[in-house]
């Protein structure tokens, strides 16, 4: 788990200062590896290499009776295509969006799981700058899909004017719908992934460094609490396994839902 690498940081902190300093947002400011290049940038490039290698290797044989790797690749692809894209976009147009959604899902999943892999141990999406482009692509995609289907003004009407409400309340609802459908969506998409990765990593670091500090105090009761903190840190790591998958799933699910809603007929 992420305990080992954080221990080193904890010992430095415990030796340097007199009291325990809880980890804050500053733990995400890693020093550059070389030049201007930082660790998350390298992790992002590594994720691209990993995903390309996985997809090429799992689809290269393309046997009728799939091997293990091909089965794994097809399982992931089938999951994204059937239970995310087709369910939410509808069977007419969903195949156009499957490549993007599949790449998005794998990209977020791999980058999230970096947080639990020893030696890497940094979720690259805990830096918000890496998520903004993804949310921007999703935003452009669903707005573009809506404009392709309904025309620019038609899409604006489709997205902002709810059908079946009395005419007098429409002036109140239109700005609200515009705010929630056009402006808030990409922001929440970004913040949700960022917040989860940020909070998860800070929690793991807190348990690891806090437990190490308590063990080093020399007090018997405190040391017991430190062991408890390590156990809780391991438990939280297992919770993070679920959260990381869920966030990749949710980002892809919401992207496809927005596309599906933009492509839907007049309601």
């Amino acid at each position: 788990m992420s305990v080992t690498a954080s221990m080193a940081a904890a010992t430095i902190k415990a030796a340097g200062g007199s009291g325990f300093h809880a980890p804050g947002p500053e733990i995400f400011n890693l020093p550059p590896v070389f030049g201007e290049v930082t660790k998350p940038m390298l992790l992002l490039c590594l994720s691209a290499v990993l995903i390309i290698a996985f997809t090429v290797l799992s689809s290269r044989p393309a046997a009728v009776v799939p091997g293990r790797l091909q089965f794994a690749g097809e399982a992931v692809y089938g999951f994204v295509r059937n239970s995310i894209a087709r369910e939410n976009i509808g069977s007419a147009h969903f195949m156009r969006f499957v490549p993007y959604l599949f790449a998005l899902f794998l990209f977020i999943l791999v980058n999230n799981y970096y947080a639990l892999i020893p030696l890497l141990q940094f979720p690259s999406f805990s830096r918000i700058g890496f998520i903004v482009p993804l949310a921007a692509i999703s935003w452009l995609l669903y707005i573009g899909a809506g404009m392709w289907k309904h025309g620019p003004l038609g899409y604006l009407k489709h997205a902002t004017v709810p059908a079946g409400v009395p005419l007098w309340i429409t002036p109140v609802l239109v700005p609200l719908e515009f705010l929630s459908n056009i402006i808030v969506r990409p922001a929440t998409l970004t913040l949700r992934l960022f917040g989860n990765m940020f909070a998860g990593h800070i929690l793991l670091v807190l348990f690891a460094t806090g437990g190490w500090y308590l063990l080093g105090t020399g007090n018997f009761v405190y040391a017991g609490a430190g062991v408890l903190a390590f156990v809780l840190g391991i438990a939280v790591s297992f919770l993070e396994v679920i959260v990381m998958f869920l966030q990749a799933y949710v980002f892809t699910l919401l992207s496809s839902m927005y596309i599906g809603e933009a492509l839907a007929d007049e309601h």
Binding site: E87, L191, R192, F194, G195, L246, V250, L253, L254
Partner: protein, 67 residues
């Protein structure tokens, strides 16, 4: 004592989504118990509700660190 009052507000704001997420998954479990074959559909809807409830807290988290 040192710290930031924002974090107390952050803790308070976790109550609402916490209750909401509990209710959502309680409803999901009872729904699946009544009709196990609808589990996949229900799960997707439950995740949507979970995500919307969670968004409130995530926004607060971001604001707490910004302010």
């Amino acid at each position: 004592m040192e710290g930031n009052l924002n974090l107390i507000g952050l803790g308070l704001s976790a109550i609402g989504p916490g209750v909401a997420i509990g209710l959502i998954f309680a409803a999901l479990i009872s729904g699946i118990a009544r009709q196990p074959e609808a589990a996949n559909t229900l799960f997707g809807r439950a995740i949507l509700g979970f995500v919307l409830a969670e968004a409130l807290f995530i926004i607060t988290l971001a604001i707490a660190f910004v302010l």
